[in-house]
Each structure stands twice: as structure tokens, then as C-alpha cells.
């Protein structure tokens, strides 16, 4: 499985993590190319359905990254998201899904270095888990 390259979907908050990714880019900080980015207005915009949909479509892992607590552009979006994700993560774990496939992080616009570390860590963890099997939609059964 060593040559397995996971595909990871990342939902990045426009105001922090997305800018953090930008900073990592302009600072030429290296990180694994396994992620695909969807920019969202706020981590609170991310519906659990989006995460499940990614897993269904064959992504091996999903990362949602937003502003640090207290830094939300909309005051409280990330606080509400935090509750939602806490429950989702527990629910998936309870069902028997590998909990590390779905990850959450806080990365600010100034944390280019942290962004690259987060991506490296998620990629590594998901790589170790191997390709996703649960919830993946197989056409034609």
C-alpha cells in the first residue's frame, strides 16, 4: 500500500484557512499534493452532508478547516460548526467508520506553516488507513 496516494477533500474558510493556504503557497512551503480545495464562506457553512457526499464519491479523507475560536468573521460560525462536527465525528465513529478519515482544524490566515503541517499530517494519517471502502458508492452494485 506504500504507493497509495489518497485523495483528500478540504473545505477551507475563506477568511482564514484559505488565506493560510495562500500564504503557504506564496511562502513556498512544501506540502503533499493530495488535497483538493473547496473554498467556503465559513466552516459553519459545511453541512455534514457535504462531508458524507465526499466520502460517497470516493474521497479517502475530508478536512474542514476554519478560523480559531473567537476569530470568526461572522462572530460565531465556527463555534456552532464545532458542535456540529463533534457530534458528526462521534456518530461516524460509533457506526464503525475510521474516525481519522474526517478531520477538523483551525488555521488562521497567518499560519502558512501550520497549514502545511495540517495537510501533511492528514495525508499521512489517511495514507496509513488505506483507500476508503465504507460509504463509497459503487454503481450497478
Amino acid at each position: 500500500m506504500s504507493d497509495f496516494e489518497p485523495k483528500i477533500m478540504t473545505f477551507l474558510c475563506n477568511w482564514c484557512s484559505y488565506a493560510g493556504a495562500d500564504l503557504a503557497g506564496v511562502s513556498r512551503i512544501q506540502y503533499p499534493p493530495n488535497t483538493r480545495v473547496i473554498r467556503v464562506p465559513c466552516s459553519g457553512r459545511v453541512d455534514p452532508l457535504f462531508i458524507l457526499k465526499c466520502l460517497q464519491d470516493g474521497y479517502d479523507g475530508v478536512l474542514v478547516s476554519g478560523c480559531h475560536p473567537g476569530d470568526c468573521h461572522y462572530i460565531s460560525g465556527n463555534y456552532v460548526a464545532r458542535r456540529k462536527f463533534a457530534v458528526l465525528k462521534k456518530a461516524l465513529e460509533f457506526m464503525g467508520m475510521e474516525p481519522d478519515r474526517v478531520q477538523f482544524s483551525w488555521v488562521s490566515a497567518g499560519e502558512g506553516e501550520k497549514f502545511s503541517q495540517v495537510i501533511s499530517k492528514v495525508t499521512e494519517t489517511v495514507k496509513a488507513l488505506g483507500p476508503a471502502k465504507k460509504l463509497v458508492k459503487r454503481i450497478g452494485r
Binding site: Q56, R82, R83, A91, S105, K137, R141
Partner: protein, 318 residues
């Protein structure tokens, strides 16, 4: 005339109700059925006992959708139904003053899907309650069940058999049944290895025929358009794929996080006896332990997932 009908007639007149939602005798044994009373005289047909399993709070949001006027609606509620009504008020689905909540003491309700699984096609023509036993009989048989075998799963560990909020309460408050630890099933299930747990959910949700009876019976599912009914974009496929069925059930459970009152309406409605409760109960536990929240207890506390505390635990964040 029973105490129930007598008091309800008085409430109907005193409160100038336009409509009252209660239960009447169903067309099959051990089945109560919802009914809508439009005048005090009509109230004679009302009943309330262990056969009244439906959660009538469902009809409050339905009424709201078909009627633009501010009709005054009375509703007969068990503990769980009352909590659903309260939760709906908190979620601003209707005005508190338009609803008259009439609490009745609940000794647990019979889950028709359990009855079906136990009796299959043996048909009951008569039944009676004898303490904690239910004796059912038909043409060539008589069977005695422990009441707990037929009660809805939620009833077995129910802590709130009486409405926590009400305008009227008819009868003496019931004692909680609590014959079983609330989270015993969950603890047991969590001991299994993850793959086995996943297989269990695949097996259960795999039976789903997407009739949406669970969703439609749920008082908390009142969205004008459900995500499964969206066609642009179509979030999940309809072609019977297992993955789509799984996602429907996971998202349904997630949407009920911090809102579910564990009334068992979904499980009772399922024509195929799917275990739709287990995941919801685990989520309910997470909400209770993490956010110290129980849905539908008072009119002030906002739903757990629509609010936050700055110091909420975040051990799961990288």
C-alpha cells in the same frame, strides 16, 4: 363518559378551541389512531392508552402549513410528544399561545412494528392488560407478553412519561418506567469491533425501501423540502444504492441531533422494522454528555446545535 373526554370537552369550550388533536380507537386491535376533533360533542370518541403510539406533535407543523390563520389547536400529549411540542415552539414553528397542551400520563406505548415481528400473521381479535402483562388472543391462540417486550424501545428507559410543560394535565402523573438503563444498548454495541458495527448498519439501512415513513412520522422533520427530495442538485441517488440509503439515515440522524425526543415514532412507522433508533440514541447521548442538553424540556433553552459555549470541548480538533 371517561375523565379524559369529560375534561377535554370542558377545555374545548373554555379555551374556544378550533380543533383538538387526540387519539381514537383504530381499525385493528392494539392500534390507536390520531383523530381531529372539531366540536366538544365529538370528544366522546377520544381514548388514551398504551395503543396510542403516534406522536401527534407531527400534525402541528402540518396544520401550520395548510392553514394561514391563527387557529387555536389543542393537543393531547404524552411526555415525549409534549417535549416535541416544546422543541417546536423553541424552533419557532408556531406561536405558543395558539397551542393548548393537554398532558396525559403515559405508561409506555406498544410499538406496532414489534407486535408485527412477534406475532407475524397471527391475528389478535382481543387483548387485555393485566398488570405488566399483555394478554392477546385470536382464533386459535392466546399469548401472554411481558409489557416490556412490546413497548417502544424508548419507553423502556423513559424518564419523562408526563409532559414537562403543559396547560392542563388529566389524570395522575405516571411513574417513569425505567426498566432498563438508557444507554445499555449503546454500551453493548460499542464493544463490537468497528467493522462489525459498520456491517450492522449496512444490514439495517440496506433494508430501507426509502418510503420515508420514519421521516414523515417524525415531529421534528418539518422542512419544506427534504434534502432527499432536492433534484437540483440531486444530493443523493434514488436508485436503491446502499451508499445512498446510508447517507439518508446518517443525515436524518444528524438533523435530529439535539432535537430528538426519542418518542420512537420513526421506529414504529418503519414497515420493515429497521433499527432506526440506535444511531439517533448515540447522538442524543453525545449531545447530553457533551453539551448537557435534553431536548424539549423548557421554552427558553435553544437547541444544542444552534448555540454554543466558548469553552465547548474541542479535543477532536487537530
Amino acid at each position: 363518559m371517561s375523565e379524559l373526554t369529560e375534561k377535554i370537552k370542558k377545555i374545548f369550550t373554555d379555551e374556544k378551541l378550533d380543533i383538538l388533536i387526540g387519539y381514537e380507537k383504530g381499525s385493528l386491535p392494539l392500534r390507536g389512531t390520531p383523530c381531529f376533533i372539531e366540536s366538544a360533542e365529538d370528544a366522546d370518541k377520544l381514548i388514551f392508552d398504551s395503543t396510542c403510539h403516534n406522536n401527534l406533535a407531527k400534525y402541528l407543523t402540518d396544520q401550520k402549513k395548510t392553514e394561514v390563520d391563527a387557529r387555536k389547536i389543542g393537543i393531547v400529549v404524552k411526555g415525549c410528544d409534549a417535549r416535541a411540542v416544546v422543541q417546536l415552539v423553541v424552533e419557532k414553528q408556531f406561536e405558543r399561545e395558539n397551542i393548548v397542551i393537554i398532558g396525559v400520563p403515559c405508561k409506555g406505548v406498544i410499538d406496532p412494528s414489534k407486535l408485527r415481528a412477534k406475532l407475524r400473521d397471527k391475528e389478535i381479535s382481543d387483548f387485555r392488560f393485566d398488570g405488566n402483562k399483555i394478554i392477546v388472543s385470536g382464533e386459535n391462540f392466546q399469548e401472554t407478553f411481558d409489557k416490556n417486550e412490546l413497548l417502544s424501545d424508548g419507553c423502556l428507559s423513559c424518564k419523562y412519561p408526563n409532559a414537562p410543560q403543559y396547560d392542563y394535565f388529566i389524570g395522575d402523573p405516571a411513574e417513569p418506567i425505567a426498566s432498563k438503563d438508557e444507554y445499555a444498548d449503546i454500551d453493548e454495541f460499542e464493544k463490537k469491533p468497528p467493522d462489525e458495527r459498520w456491517e450492522y448498519f449496512e444490514k439495517e439501512y440496506g433494508k430501507c425501501i426509502r418510503c420515508y415513513a420514519c421521516r414523515n412520522a417524525c415531529p421534528m422533520c418539518y422542512c419544506e423540502q427534504c434534502f432527499v427530495d432536492c433534484s437540483m442538485p440531486q444530493w443523493i441517488g434514488k436508485g436503491g444504492n446502499l451508499s445512498d440509503k446510508m447517507i439518508f439515515h446518517i443525515v436524518r440522524a444528524m438533523h435530529l441531533a439535539g432535537r430528538c425526543v426519542d418518542c420512537g415514532a420513526c421506529a414504529a412507522a418503519c414497515p420493515l422494522n429497521i433499527d432506526v433508533r440506535l444511531l439517533g440514541k448515540r447522538i442524543e447521548r453525545e449531545v447530553a454528555e457533551r453539551f448537557d442538553f435534553t431536548a424539549g424540556m423548557d421554552f427558553e433553552t435553544p437547541p444544542a446545535l444552534a448555540t454554543f459555549r466558548e469553552d465547548d470541548k474541542q479535543e477532536f480538533i487537530m
